[in-house]
């Protein structure tokens, strides 16, 4: 990795780690549409959705797969980065000492390869948004504003508490800082 911005690379990875922890917690105690139990469904729900028999707000049963795929792909990428080191041994992920030199080197190669998987998912995601938009459905606007058009009989979103969001974020930052410090006492 000779792009001369390795510091930025590592810091953005730590930022993504914080966001992942936040999203994981928010998916348990956050707004109703963010909770995994509310939007992650089985194949039958996906089939119903594809046949136009799904009504609801938030991620639809098919989109849920995309959320899970992105979440897992980013988690794998961050996990690899945490134990990786660059080819020259000048930069290391904060948890590199938990594994051997060989494993760190392999993690780096896989980290490099895995970025293509993420690019693929990003492309799929953007294509899906454009596809829905062409069919007259805004996916991003309700996501940002929290407001969506409700058909009669549809249950509105139960908005999560702001202070719970704050606790989730603080927890994410705290865990990330602990990992940056080498996750004591495990790697010291």
């Amino acid at each position: 990795m000779h792009n001369h911005h390795t510091d930025w690379h590592i810091w953005s990875g730590c930022a993504i780690l914080t966001l992942l922890i936040f999203r994981l917690l928010w998916g348990v105690v956050g707004s109703s549409t963010a909770r995994f139990t509310n939007f992650v469904r089985g194949p039958r729900a996906i089939g119903d959705y594809l046949r136009g028999r799904w009504t609801g707000i938030g991620h639809n049963p098919l989109g849920a797969l995309s959320v899970i795929a992105l979440f897992l792909a980013l988690s794998v990428q961050v996990g690899l980065g945490l134990v990786a080191e660059d080819e020259d041994g000048l930069y290391t992920g904060p948890l590199y000492r938990l594994v051997s030199i060989d494993t760190s080197d392999k993690a780096r190669d896989l980290h490099e390869f895995w970025f293509n998987v993420i690019l693929g998912l990003v492309a799929l995601h953007v294509v899906a948004i454009v596809f829905y938009r062409l069919r007259g459905k805004h996916l991003t606007k309700p996501m940002i504003t929290g407001r969506a058009h409700l058909e009669p009989g549809m249950e509105p979103m139960r908005v999560g508490k702001w202070w719970i969001a704050l606790i989730c974020l603080a927890t994410g930052i705290g865990i990330t800082r602990w990992i940056i410090a080498g996750a004591p006492p495990f790697s010291s």
Partner: protein, 157 residues
Amino acid sequence: MRNVPIVIASVVALTAITTAATAKVSGPQAAQVMHQRHEGMESIGKAFKALRREFDSSSPFDPTVRSSAAQIAGLARKSSGWFPAGTGPEAGKTGAKPEIWKTPQDFAAKLSAFQKASLVFNAAAASGDINAAKARYADLGGTCKACHDKYRAEMHH
């Protein structure tokens, strides 16, 4: 530090080696140099990584630190012969950028800085003063980076 005279003598000798002009090579000779360079750089990298793990552990193991430091210093000395003209990307797969031979004086200065730092680090490691060794290790890494930022390309192998 009892090693100071040795370091100074070595640095003087090295400067003479580094600034000596290196003749252009080609064919199998170029391939051989490139192979040596690759293996040498890889060994330096491995020793450097092992040292980081030692220094970051709660009790760095003295013999490992000493032997790795000596290995790097030995390879650094050899590195003077690793960059003759004719061993750039035109001669085959390599991480060496053509800029090495476009700005030879700057490259020689950076290579020399690396060699000096490797000797200073080796002396610190030999002295058994872990804190001094750590500081000189960081200096050494700085000289690796200074050169690699400018003259090393990514190489997939």
